[in-house]
Amino acid sequence: MSAPMSLPSGDRPAMLRWLGVACFAALTAGPVLLLAWDTAWAGDALAMALPSGRRLSLLWSSVALGAAVALGGTVAGMVCAVALWRQPRARVLRWVALAMAASPPYVHYLAWSGFARTFGVPFEGWPAIWWVQTASFLPFGVLLLLAAFETLDPGLIEAGRMARPEHEALLRVALPLAAPAAAACGGLLFLLSVTDYSVPALLQRSVYALAIFSEYSAGGDVRRAFAMSLPLIVLSCGAAAAANGMLRGEVFTPAWGVSPWSRGPRVADRIGLALLALHALVPLVSLAADAAGWSALARAAFDSRREIGLTMGTAAAAAVLSLGPGWAVARSMERTPSLLWLLVLAPLVVPPPVAGLGLIRMWNGTSAFALHGTLAMPVLALLARFLPVAALGIAAHLRRIDPLLLDAARLQQAPGWKIRLRIHLPLVLPGAMAAAFFVFALGAGELGATLMIAPPGYQTLSVRIFNYLHYGSSPAVANLCLVLMALGLAAGGAAAWVAERWSRIAGTEWRARA
């Protein structure tokens, strides 16, 4: 198996790619850099970058929580992904996993706290935070790991099965081969955990991300808030860059489309599939129990139609617009050191309210670019925050493209634009769809930056839900959460269907010709 090859660049307009990189930089780093330009750095602000006392304690708590979520999510993700890989008939659960990715953490909080309350189980403190975050980020882990398993050479697995029992082939062949992907999964879940403060706030525990927010809320000093976020940026991006570095040395192939396992369910597979099913069913049932019936649900959906429209519209727009700059950065990073990913991923860790203020600074002028107060701002906020996710997702997919197909394309006598349109684009599209969906899922639940820039008269579902959540659960909140989950199911199902069709067209058809 040859090493990953990149898409040919000889006849590709490099200027277009660099324009995409410039857009990425402007949209993600521009707002924060403008804020930094406006304020001079002072010694007391820089001192905030070196946590001590309570802040150091909070940082370690956050790191410990992040590590626990990364470990739990990766292990659970592994169990679920193996089950889906070995049981192709359970395909529908893939779509369920995809759909649950669009439910923000506070929806899981409401669902699981209600479930625990029903059975009289204590649900508080760090264990509850760990549980909610792990459940919330599990879909990302499952999808990443499943993609990794499906690219493993089935011949290796079959060879293992010939010499050893099936479970040993799994433990000693498949899992080690998927280890780099597991590390990447852990890095992503760690990053998502340490930057989330919604769940710890709801469960009355302080974490470093919340302390950054509190510091900023107390003083309104952007410099201090940004300096305070530097340790988190370094830790989170270091984890992501290290995981990405592990992936760089690996050999990738497209999905083989065949299962190397014998048919028939296994206990471990049943556990994995049950876990996946419960992951979706418990929130649905728990929220439905709190909701006040179908008519109230329909009423809630109708009353929230403006919020639904804004949420879905801005998330979808951001998802689509993220592809160009995300692809440009992914292509540009193919042969660069892992540490440069720190620059790409840093926007993920910038405190959302700081990002929001930077956006106001950038877009509230008197020129033609005075977009503040318009519906463009929520889209810009989502791009500022989640463009790195698109770049990461597309970069991961680019490694999976069959180099033989690229070689075959080079032999074509067709014009460059035709090759790009009819060969490169179909190959890249499934990964692009996945990246776009991740941006959509994260964007639908975004809170901090959106709050700062939402145009008057408009409000996202996440702001409404979060506001009502602080008064405890209620039928109104449960209804809104169900609406959000339903929209996520619809979006996830649509994305999965499109990606699967394109994969079949891109993979199967070309395999027949190659």
Partner: protein
């Protein structure tokens, strides 16, 4: 259709009905921007300051007045004296008319009756953490923003800088539970994770109304009564719709709207009538502490710096 943009740092459950009612009565379309509990008012305050060069908002309706005063200092507000203003509180309204105070919430001690007997708990805030409820079963919100911060600034103004700082240093050192906000304190007490909590009267009323095993005690300060923190409303300088903004301010300061906010449970102190009924019969007399608004505002920077050093290090 004429419109008005209102930035409301009031819990959406209380403010939204008022905005919709104004819209219905006047035909002026209201375009609201709400804060979230987690942003603790400063979300919108910072947004208003950031938009100063090209304002988007017409009116700012705040659940306290200290942050409104900060906006005045930054040149974000324009003076306007409302006509009528039946519910206006003159003691904390800006003398130049840059903001008007009205209504009010009181600082209260919320007691979980399954864990503590409210009859033996001293109502004096200055004895918080000293018994009979253990410090580790006592909760208060981080006094760096919102009404908790305004309360701290009022204590600095009333007691003097040294005694107030000592009070908070004692609290921090005693092991009291510091929560992220007043709503968090309420939840801790409701769930029994804390026996006693210092919070706002609207949180206490909501807790009592929900049937939780709690009682409220108006938190006095030695010889002084409870601190009442009024709402404030202000016109934004350079507002896109100043006439509609003034119309909304007049409406908000009317007796009728204040009555609605009292019935809804947002306001528990009024210059016009008794409004603390939702706290229950044993809450104590509502004889508000006399506070010099200018002195409170003047101490805010110092209070923030000192309390940040006590609670955030």
């Amino acid at each position: 259709m004429p419109s008005v943009v209102v930035y409301a740092s009031i819990d959406q459950v209380y403010s939204e009905p008022v905005l919709r009612d104004f819209e219905r009565r006047t035909g002026v379309r209201v375009l609201p921007v709400y804060d979230v509990e987690a942003a603790k008012t400063t979300g919108l305050v910072n947004r208003l300051a950031a938009e100063k060069a090209r304002p988007v908002a017409d009116v700012f309706w705040n659940g306290e007045f200290a942050q409104t005063a900060l906006l005045r200092n930054q040149g974000v507000l324009a003076p306007y004296r409302a006509s009528g203003a039946a519910s206006a509180r003159t003691e904390c309204s800006d003398p130049s008319g840059f903001w008007t105070c009205f209504g009010g919430r009181a600082r209260v001690l919320l007691v979980n009756t399954r864990l503590a007997d409210e009859r033996v708990i001293p109502a004096d805030v200055l004895r918080l953490g000293q018994g009979p409820v253990e410090a580790k079963l006592t909760a208060l919100a981080l006094p760096l923003f919102g009404t908790s911060f305004t309360h701290a600034a009022a204590l600095y103004a009333a007691l003097g800088d040294g005694p107030a700082r000592s009070f908070y240093e004692g609290l921090a050192g005693s092991g009291v539970r510091v929560a992220e906000g007043n709503a968090a304190v309420r939840r801790l007490v409701e769930k029994g994770e804390a026996a006693l909590g210092l919070t706002d009267s609207d949180d206490a009323c909501a807790s009592i109304a929900s049937g939780a095993p709690v009682r409220a005690i108006l938190a006095d300060h030695g010889a002084s009564g409870p601190l009442v923190i009024p709402n404030s409303v202000a016109l934004i300088a350079g507002a896109p719709h100043p006439e509609q903004g003034k119309q909304f301010i007049d409406y908000l300061l009317s007796a009728e709207v204040e009555d609605r906010l009292i019935e809804a449970g947002w306001v528990q102190s009024s210059v016009r009538r008794d409004a603390a009924g939702c706290l229950g019969p044993g809450a104590g007399p509502m004889r508000p502490m006399q506070v010099d608004g200018a002195a409170v505002v003047g101490r805010m920077d110092r209070v923030r710096k000192e309390l940040g050093g006590i609670f955030m290090k």
